[in-house]
Symmetry: D2
Subunit: 335 residues, 4 copies
């Protein structure tokens, strides 16, 4: 049994981790910690967990962490690296924050001065479809952001045949913003509405652009929007094709790319957010705008699962040589 | 392994049964049938099931059913009894319709002439909290309705101390009405709205009244309402107390009543629908209107799970001597 | 032209008042004040008002108020009476708070010590269907609460033929709680959920009970619930009939009661929240539970309009001898 | 007083027209007709209209139409032109369908054979911000589509400085699809979900591309998406700038373009759907992706109002020399 800890259980991604790990056959949860609600049962914070997980929330304590096999950090950006700096090398770490996703310069441009920049190069970007081999041996996983997961999985299969100028118009449910008390997250502001935010200036843009610049640099215009739903991201990606391809070729290319991937579902039907809610799947499809020789790729994930917590668990499975689907055969929420 | 079949997989309760049974460690699904979409993969009807359950939907065939250990019938009222009449005694049956929930006279008053009224007395009303012993040996389970489950579990603990005149004001999500193409179920009609329907004339009223009239007859006024959400029922029950009791006594009484029940959660906090969504739990709490010596009991279930499919699975576990929680440690959907 | 002021324009009822008064042909808005956002254009607080009302929010100043013909107070309970104590007799006041709705003893039991209890008896409870004649001459209107409006208009027509023990199960949209930054009002908590709150202990219960105890005392059990929508209240009222009546008699009685009322719509069809959203209407209907000789009355209002701001305007029209419908022929929001 | 008729009152745009015209000071509604529900009061179809408009729905009769000053046609594509062919020249027509928005060849490519192609050139595309002068004298208005209104008003101010390759990622509420009984429009399918549909193959693409090709041809990639809300469209437009401009220049350019327009609101704040719901406004803003020298324009309209019925009324006002804002000073729905 893997001895597992979760730090940051009072937020949504921490909650999802707890729910997933409770059902994982090779895991025992040894440590649940958070910055707030210390001393309270987790089910006081999340009453849905009553009788499911009434464990007491412990304070954050690095000594507790080093006795584990793996620790998940579901902490805010900036807070997470404080702990990583102390724990690195003493316990394997899966960090759900952005703190180790970007090169130092990019990180500091978009976030704040980095506390342990030397560790950034030690971190493996935890997108299994891209980095499975590196994840196996990683000491520190930088778990991808939700927007980045949906966007990168959409673009990757076509990266060699599209021009380097990529537009990503993404739409996310409100749980992406967590449980913060902000007026713009009140029901009365979200219901029956929709808006873009941070157009061309969102922190996930450098993450996406950096990861996609695998072989040659790409440029990404990224505009996120806020949907009046709780869960799910849909990314609509626009890119010019380098030459002319027909739909059959493109579909075969997409299908081949993900043929062995357990958690990417390729289809000719357009993806819908409620088909992946509750699961670790990313659904990908595309359309071809022939008049403009433009590829339109559509992808959908559950932002809290494949976009965060279940992807973190997928990384854990890979790191510890477990079956990759272990604990991840999840029931879709629909309807 | 139990060989299990589901008849009626193209509806929401059938879908939920499939999702649950796929994860049950002692079950193999041998037969999936429906009246429509025969010959199509189930994942064509429900794209969320792609790669999860691509089994082909078979036609309804009683010969297939009799080779199973148990068959779940997720068919409309009236259709279900046709099959039960043929299958009874040849295979154990869990019927999610209303066809065997009521005595003949009541059934025929609210529904239609019964095809095999002699079998009604053979059926066990599948509410484990009430009938666990009978369920163990049952050949035919009449699985309770969603409104009835929420309402009866609210009232039962207090049945001996309340007067016989009970008011149940119930509110349900729209999946209770299934996938029927009706104008009043369009998004544009439901969103931002709310209404009562069939006040004092809903078919679940006789079911509730009949079950609650265990020792002495009770009278139930029942008014259902339609919530602009997909899942969940909240029942608000009003009943006069026979004499004066304080809240501590009432809470202890409630708690004791369900002390050994794995799927009823008693709390001093008022229940919320999203705390049970995705689970087999019924959450129950109450308030005391001292001025009027009136008890207000509040209960919540997921109408498709404890109100239908996961309760059916709980019945199966009991019938076959399995651990009652097997396959039912479900992750709450929240958030 | 009436010179009108609104104090408390940064909340939802203040906003609705502004939108209504801007279209009223006999009104000029001379004064918009609030406790917060002073010095900002109102359209900064509510961007939907851009180019519609860009007036600057002024500080609260009693000297400004006394130069008006009428002032609307859309302030929180407790704050409002401070201003009323100073303004009474100097300007006609329509107070949307609860401060003058209850007798002193009841007010102080449910709220706090009253600052000017002598003025309570000067206030007229501003429900036109009940108090039209008194409203005409009133110096101070206690504008009814939203739950009270829906509940009282449901019960009034039948008050003489029902028993004195009345149950009101009410359901409201979230704007009833205003724009307060509370975790339980976040989208993630409200969406896909539903709950009761303050059962048998909500502050609107004494208001309803007090008003309905017109000739003989009635007892009201009141349980409010929170709907995942922005606007609207539906009240489901349960009361035993004193003797046997048939539906035709009851419908005629209801219809006659409201025959001359411009803003109560009586129907045999059950009311739906989205039929009154955006309007000053209260829709009322009923069902008869013959088995239990119980009347079930259903009523619907827009909580921010007939339940607050448009009813306040209706009161103004009556106070100043204007046509009662002036400025109140509103377009329903549906769809 | 203008004698006005509406043909097609049983749909959402017809309903909105009725609500608007009832409040227009210079209009009398002389004729309400539809293909269905003939002989019923309109308030039977739309109970929200009870006591507001109980007029009987008449059958469609060209002889009735020719006695009017203007007739609004709120009919499906294909049906509308049948009537236009008969009425043209006998009464001024505002056609809300797509039948006269496109040149013959484009129309027949995307829709069906045209019945009176000669009349297409007589029709004026009723976007006041583009064609105000022509609208004044028009006999036949082709009222713009909802997606086209939002998209074109976003692009027009920048048309001379952007490259001809334009991407429009649009998101609409479900009332855009009307009241059709389709499984994908059921509440259970829409709630908590989101999807794209008809990517690069939607009928509004040729409308947008055709109108924007004013001076030189532009190419439009158009992808619509379905929001889980009733009303509103947000268009996110992506276009490369021909040379480098800063934000101050771009904002001034936008502001100047609409300086005299009563129904376009320009702002540095990003638009939100609920700020325009209920109104005839189009809100426009933009962001500049400096790294890629790409302009991102965002616009919002109420799809049933500025995207259909209130724009039709704006056209009527212009055609008959009335004040353009007459009957269009609408209250925003928010909250």
């Amino acid at each position: 049994m893997l001895r597992v800890g979760i730090v940051g259980v009072s937020g949504f991604t921490g909650l999802e981790l707890v729910k997933l790990l409770l059902h994982h056959p090779w895991v025992e949860i040894d440590y649940l910690a958070a910055r707030s609600h210390v001393g309270q049962p987790l089910s006081d914070v999340f009453p849905s967990l009553k009788n499911i997980c009434d464990n007491i929330i412990e304070p954050i304590d690095e000594n507790k962490c080093v006795n584990l096999d793996v620790v998940f950090l579901a902490l805010p950006h900036g807070v997470s690296m404080e702990l990583v700096c102390k724990l690195f090398g003493k316990v394997r770490i899966i960090d759900l924050s952005a703190d180790f996703r970007l090169p130092k310069d990019l990180y500091e441009k978009w976030y704040k001065p980095h506390l342990c920049p030397d560790l950034i190069k030690e971190a493996v970007y935890g997108l299994p479809e891209l980095n499975r081999q590196k994840i196996k041996k990683a000491s520190l996983i930088a778990n991808p952001g939700c927007y980045a997961t949906a966007s990168i999985l959409a673009v990757l299969p076509f990266l060699d045949i599209i021009e380097s100028d990529i537009i990503i118009d993404a739409k996310s449910g409100v749980t992406g913003a967590g449980k913060t008390l902000r007026e713009d997250l009140l029901f009365s502001e979200i219901e029956a509405s929709f808006k873009a935010y941070s157009p061309a200036s969102h922190r996930h843009q450098p993450e996406i652009q950096n990861v996609l610049s695998l072989t040659e640099p790409v440029n990404v215009t990224f505009v996120p929007h806020l949907l009046p739903i709780n869960r799910g991201i849909l990314a609509t990606v626009y890119a010019k094709l380098k030459s002319f391809f027909d739909e059959a070729f493109l579909f075969e290319k997409l299908q081949k790319f993900y043929i062995n991937e357990p958690f990417v579902r390729v289809s000719k039907n357009l993806p819908k957010i409620n088909n992946t809610s509750g699961t670790n799947y990313c659904d990908v499809s595309f359309a071809l705008d022939k008049e403009n020789n433009r590829l339109i790729i559509l992808s959908v994930v559950d932002n809290l699962l494949k976009g965060a917590s279940s992807q973190a668990l997928q990384n854990m499975n890979i790191m510890f040589g477990l079956k990759e689907e272990e604990g991840l055969k999840l029931k879709p929420h629909y309807p």
